[in-house]
Symmetry: C2
Subunit: 401 residues, 2 copies
C-alpha cells in the first residue's frame, strides 16, 4: 500500500472542475485500468468519431468534390489555415495567419528549418541538443550533410554561449524523455541576441502546456496533434511561422497547394502569400477535421485549466514515487519543480523494458523509452487522479515482485 490513500485521489477527482470532460471520450477496452500514454497517442474523442461520420456521410458523401471549395464556413481548402488559427488561439498563444495544419511533424520541421536557415544565408551553424527527438536530429543531419552546415551539439539547457556564426537554434519545448520544460522565451532571446533564428518543436507540449509563441518572439514552431490534442493516429502536424518573416518565407518542398492561385495550373512556382506557402500537397481532411475536434475540446476546457490539472496529476505521481517507487530502486527522470515539468513523468529502472510488459499485462499502459525509461503520461481531460493512483499501485506491486 502507498502512503497516500486512494481516498485522497478520489477527493481530488471530486473537486476536479475538468472531470466531466472524461465523458467526451470514447470508452476504452475493459482490459485497460489506466491509460498513461496520452503523451504518445491521445484517447479518442467522441467528436472526432462524429467528425469522421459527418465527413463520410455528408461533406464527402452528399456534397462530393464541392466540399473542397464550399460549405458552411468555407471549403476543405480553407481548413489548413482555419484549423491552424483555431489551434493557435486555443493553445499556442499565436495571432491568426501564422499557423497551418499540414503533413507530418517531420516534413513540417524540414520546411521550417530550411525556411529558418534561408533567413541567415551567411551563417553555417545549427545548434541543437543530442536529447532532442530523433526526427528533429535526423532532419537537421540530412540538411547539414547536404547543404554543408555544421551541427553544434549543446547541453539541453543550452547554457553555453551562442556565437554569431549560428544561423538557427532548434530545440523541443518539452523534452520527450524527461518532460523537462525549456525556457523558450529566455533561450529564444539569447539566440536572437546572437542574430540567430529559432525553430521550436512543441510535440510534447501542445495541448497540455500553454505556449506563448508570439510573446516569446518565436520565429518558427512545429508540433504534432495526435498526443494531447487528440487528433488520432498520424493526425497532421502544425507549422507556425511568425508574420514578420512572411515576406521572406521560402521552403523547398514546392507543391501545387503552396503556390499562388494553384488552380490556374500555370507554369512556374510563385509561393502563396503568408503561411500558405508552407503547404506542399493536398491536405488530409479526416486528419484536419479530427484536429479541429480536439482543438475545440481544449478551447472549451481552457489550456490554463488543463495545465493546472496536469501539474496536479504529475505532482501526485511524484508524491507516490517518493513514497513507494523510490524505495524499490526506481529513479525519477523528470523535474521536481512543477514550473519545469511537462505532462509526463519518467521513471527509470534497469529492468524497465520487462517491467513495462508486465505492467501492460495488468492493464496499465505507460510508454517504454530506451534504454530504461517508463514514461507515465497524464492526460488532463480524459484522465483522473483515481486512475493514476491505481496505475502507480500496480507499478509498485510489479516493481516489488
Amino acid at each position: 500500500m502507498t502512503s497516500i490513500a486512494r481516498s485522497h485521489a478520489e477527493q481530488l477527482d471530486a473537486a476536479d472542475p475538468l472531470a466531466h470532460f472524461r465523458d467526451r471520450y470514447l470508452p476504452h477496452g475493459d482490459d485497460v485500468i489506466a491509460y498513461l500514454d496520452g503523451n504518445s497517442l491521445g484517447r479518442p474523442i467522441r467528436a472526432v468519431r462524429d467528425a469522421w461520420l459527418d465527413l463520410a456521410d455528408h461533406q464527402w458523401g452528399e456534397r462530393l468534390i464541392r466540399s473542397w471549395t464550399d460549405g458552411p464556413g468555407g471549403g476543405w481548402m480553407d481548413l489548413p489555415e482555419q484549423v491552424g488559427d483555431e489551434l493557435a488561439a486555443a493553445m499556442l498563444g499565436a495571432a491568426p495567419g501564422q499557423t497551418i495544419i499540414a503533413d507530418s511533424t517531420t516534413i513540417n520541421f524540414y520546411k521550417a528549418l530550411r525556411a529558418a536557415l534561408a533567413l541567415r544565408p551567411d551563417r553555417r551553424v545549427i545548434v541543437m541538443d543530442r536529447d532532442n527527438f530523433p526526427t528533429d536530429r535526423f532532419v537537421a543531419e540530412s540538411i547539414a550533410s547536404e547543404l554543408d552546415y555544421e551541427i553544434r551539439w549543446m547541453p539541453s539547457n543550452f547554457a553555453e554561449p551562442i556565437d554569431d556564426d549560428v544561423a538557427v537554434l532548434t530545440a523541443s519545448h518539452i523534452a520527450y524523455r524527461s518532460g523537462y520544460v525549456a525556457d523558450v522565451a529566455e533561450i529564444t532571446a539569447r539566440a536572437h541576441d546572437a542574430g540567430a533564428v529559432v525553430v521550436w518543436d512543441l510535440c510534447h507540449s501542445v495541448g497540455v502546456f500553454p505556449a506563448q509563441l508570439d510573446a516569446w518572439q518565436v520565429d518558427f514552431a512545429v508540433g504534432c496533434t495526435y498526443k494531447f490534442v487528440g487528433g488520432g493516429p498520424g493526425a497532421p502536424a502544425f507549422v507556425y511561422a511568425a508574420t514578420r518573416h512572411h515576406g521572406q518565407l521560402r521552403q523547398p518542398l514546392w507543391g501545387w497547394l503552396g503556390r499562388r492561385d494553384p488552380f490556374e495550373m500555370e507554369q512556374g512556382y510563385l509561393p502563396a502569400a503568408g503561411i500558405r506557402s508552407m503547404m506542399s500537397g493536398t491536405p488530409t481532411i479526416p486528419g484536419i477535421l479530427a484536429v479541429r475536434a480536439g482543438t475545440a475540446l481544449i478551447a472549451e476546457a481552457g489550456i490554463e485549466a488543463i495545465r493546472a490539472k496536469s501539474v496536479a496529476l504529475t505532482e501526485m505521481v511524484i508524491d507516490l514515487y517518493d513514497a513507494v517507487l523510490a524505495p524499490l530502486g526506481f529513479d525519477l527522470g523528470s523535474p521536481r519543480e512543477s514550473r519545469r515539468r511537462g505532462g509526463h513523468v519518467t521513471i527509470h529502472r534497469s529492468d524497465a523494458r520487462e517491467l513495462t510488459r508486465a505492467i501492460i499485462d495488468r492493464g496499465v499502459i505507460p510508454d517504454f523509452r530506451t534504454p530504461d525509461g517508463i514514461r507515465l503520461g497524464l492526460s488532463p481531460l480524459p484522465g483522473s487522479f483515481g486512475e493514476v493512483w491505481d496505475a502507480v499501485e500496480i507499478i509498485r506491486q510489479i516493481g516489488a515482485a
Copy 2:
C-alpha cells in the same frame, strides 16, 4: 435529343457485370444527377466509412496505443507496406516490398525524384513536359534551382532524342488535362537506353488503368489514392521504388520512421532496409485504412474489368460528343484511340468556365480546368451508362442555350 437513345445506355447498364458495385458506395445528395469528377475526388465507399468507425471505436478506442504494434495481421506501423503491397498487387503490377503508402503525392514525388537523381550523380538534366501536373513541375523546378540541374522540356510524347546527359525522365502515365495514356514501357526503354532513370506519376491512372510497373521496368512511381482508388479527400499517396535500386535508395527527408530500428531512438540516421527508407514521419492511419478499403474494392472487381468498363464509358461519351456536342462548337481534347485514352474525356469551349457553373447548377458535376477545359471523369465502379447519358444531355442543353 441525342442520336444515341437513352435506352442504349440502359442496355449497357443491364449488361454491365460491375453494375452491382454501385451499392458499395454511399448515396450522394439528391441534387446530384451525375458525378463526373471521380478523377478528382472519388465517391465515398461504404467500407471507408466502416473503416473509420472501426478505427474510432475499436482499433483506437479500445486498443489505444497498442494498435501501433499489434492487432489482427499486424499493427498500424505495418500498414504503409501492407497496404502498399495490396495496392501494388491489385492495380500496379508490382511485386511486394516495393510500394508504401505515405505522405502526399508532392512529398513522395520529391523523395522519388531525389532518389532517382542520386542514382545518376554525374548527370545534370531532368527531362519532363510542360503539360505535366503542376506539382510535378514545381518539385522538379525546386530541385533544379537548388541543386543546379537543368530541366529539359520536351513534347508530351517525348519524341525527341534522350541524350546521355539525362539523369531522370519524369512524366505522367495519364495526362491530367487530356487523359492521354503514355506508352510507359516504350518511353522507359528509351530513357534506359540513354542510361537515365524514370519517375512515373500515376495519379490519373491508378485504379482505372492497369499498370505493369515491374514488367515496364519502371524505376520509381508515385500516385494519389483519392481519385479512382477512393481513399477520400487528401488520402495518403503511394511511392514505388523498384527492388533493384533498394541497395542505393537515398532520399533527403530523413525522419524517425524511415530509420532502421526507429524505436531505439539512437543517434544518427541509418536508412531502414528497402522501401521503408522512403518513409519520413508518422503515417496517417484513417487515410491508410481508407486506401485499404478502396484497394480491396478494386481487387474484388478486378482492374482489367474496371478498365474495360472505363473504355466503354469514355467510348459512349465520345460517341455522344460526335453526335451532339461537336455541332455546338465543343472540341474534343482527348484521344479517340481507346488504347491511348484514360478514364476521363476532356471537351473544350471558350466559355467552359461559365458552362461548368451552369452544368453544376443542373446537378451534373464535371471538373473545370483552365483555360477552357471541362473534364468528364468516368468512374467505372460507382458510375453507370445512364448517368453519363443524362450528363451529356444536360451539357448539350446548356451548351445550346
